[in-house]
Amino acid sequence: MNEETLKEKVQRAKEKILPVWDQATPDTSLVNFAIEWDHEYEELYRSSGWGFFSADKPRHLDHKTREMIVCALLAFRDRPGAYQHAKNALRQGATINELMEVFSVAVFPGGGPTRVVGLEGLRKIVEEEDGHTPIERAPKSDSEIEEDFSNESREEKVNRITKKIHADMGYEDENISFGVELDPDFFEVYSKVYWGFFEQERCHLDPIVREMVLLVVMTFRGLREEAYQHAKKALRLGATINQLLECHEVCIPPAGLGQLHEGLRTLRIISEEMKNNS
């Protein structure tokens, strides 16, 4: 290979990379530019980066789930890749409603802009492609939203809201209890969306996938306590450590190596706790 000229090597790299270039990105000018200026790095990046995970190679996660997780992270970062990976997820069998739920869940760790970026991407897809129709969500079950709490005391209210939030979180958080005690009215309203909304309805995503979306964005942001709790919740719901590790692995391309390091730290702590408890 060493006799090859730079031009020949660039050409060979193009022939190798471009045919498998992400179909959701028709513009290849940037990847062409990257190959021309540093084909060695680009070749390795393609095979060792996202290229490790392909649709025909399910490991602990199916490819649709990987794409949806990446979508959430890229939406948080306000990157056009959110649209591209949403298209990939649709090709893997996701529905617009599932993707909408990804972005709705990603609001919790990522804030409103994450959802807005996601919505913009989904609207663009729906405008470009025929055949996407909304899927009706099943009606609510016995939601407590309908109940009348007008006669309860402040203390009863604090207790009710604290219990609801803790039941949803799966653990008791002293800071949240402190917050509810200070301002029960705010937490009552907020708990309707942020704690329990998805549990009270039949949704489009599996609860484990929702936890994975939360986990990767929390981890990206370095929010260790939250990442730890959501990883534990995902495990309680039936996820495996290997699935959670793959969540972080697929997020190296959109998030960088720190994502994997942070994720591993959390998983290692949980794994050791599990060993000690068994």
Binding site: W37, E40, Y45, S48, G222, Q259
Partner: protein
């Protein structure tokens, strides 16, 4: 200067910003607009922020390296300033290949978007100036050869040992979390170690190994990743960087990264300093 009117000061300070950005943004920019509205603040910002570091003010880092570090942080933040500072770096003697390596390295702490932002910027620069030409890297990297060098028949245990050793050698330290990951998923780490822990190693590329570490450190400091910042700071020192150079790396990043970046950096440097005592 005290005799000048507010309007005169506004015009003067706005002109400073306009001139500085000439040839980069190419038009009367936003900073100039800000300066025309609040010249007192903008003058203070100009001389106490980035303005402290000028090509003439040679301290511990050369100005080209400063500009490249700033490019690394701004690419993580997806800011148009990447273009401005990339052009500044070129003016200071950087090559396009060096800048490309900045973004390739920034991908490690910042993820793919950092590199994409950098690529978009460099493509724009090359489109504007087609005279820029590709240079050959001082060493060759053959991804296929690396893949061929992997033992065909190795047990899972042998693979874990080989991959862990590769990563630890590149890191220069033992990371228990990484060891835990390799144990769980050796196949993934085998492939990933070729990219993230083998490509640059400590070889002189278009950038020096120290320059690469400074870029990685700046982005980790911005993101508040303390463990990574600590290890990369120690690696930079091992490679021959001085404490003063590391501090200057954080100092030049206050304008693109905020004062918290400097605080994060100082915490790390103090920890390393205290450990050495």
């Amino acid at each position: 200067m005290n005799s000048e009117s507010y309007e005169e000061k506004a015009t003067r300070v706005a002109e400073i910003f306009r001139k500085e950005r000439e040839g980069t943004t190419g038009y009367d920019n936003l900073l100039s607009f800000g300066a025309s509205i609040d010249p007192d603040y903008w003058e203070a910002y100009r001389y106490n922020g980035w303005g402290f570091f000028t090509p003439q003010n040679k301290r511990h880092l050369d100005h080209m390296t400063r500009e490249m570090i700033v490019c690394g942080v701004l690419s993580f933040r997806d800011r148009p300033g990447v273009y401005v500072h990339a052009k500044n770096a070129l003016k200071e003697g950087a090559t396009l290949n060096q800048l490309l390596e900045v973004f390739e390295v920034a991908l490690f702490p910042g993820g793919g978007p950092s590199r994409m932002v950098g690529l978009e910027t460099l493509k724009r620069i090359v489109d504007e100036d087609p005279s820029l030409v590709v240079e050959k890297r001082p060493w060759r990297f053959d991804a296929e050869e690396v893949a061929r060098n992997v033992p065909e028949k190795e047990t899972r245990e042998e693979k874990i040992k080989r991959v862990t050793e590769t990563i630890e050698k590149a890191n220069g330290y033992v990371d228990e979390a990484i060891s835990f990951g390799v144990e769980l998923d050796p196949d993934y780490f085998d492939i990933y170690s070729r990219m993230h822990w083998s490509f640059f190693e400590e070889k002189e590329g278009f950038l020096t190994p120290i320059q690469r570490e400074l870029i990685v450190m700046a982005v980790f400091a911005f993101r508040g990743f303390r463990e990574e910042l600590y290890f990369h700071s120690k690696k930079a020192l091992r490679l021959g960087a001085s404490m003063e150079q590391l501090l200057e790396c954080f100092q030049v990043c206050v304008p693109p990264g905020g004062i918290a970046l400097l605080h994060e950096g100082l915490r790390t440097l103090k920890k390393i300093h205290d450990e050495a005592e």
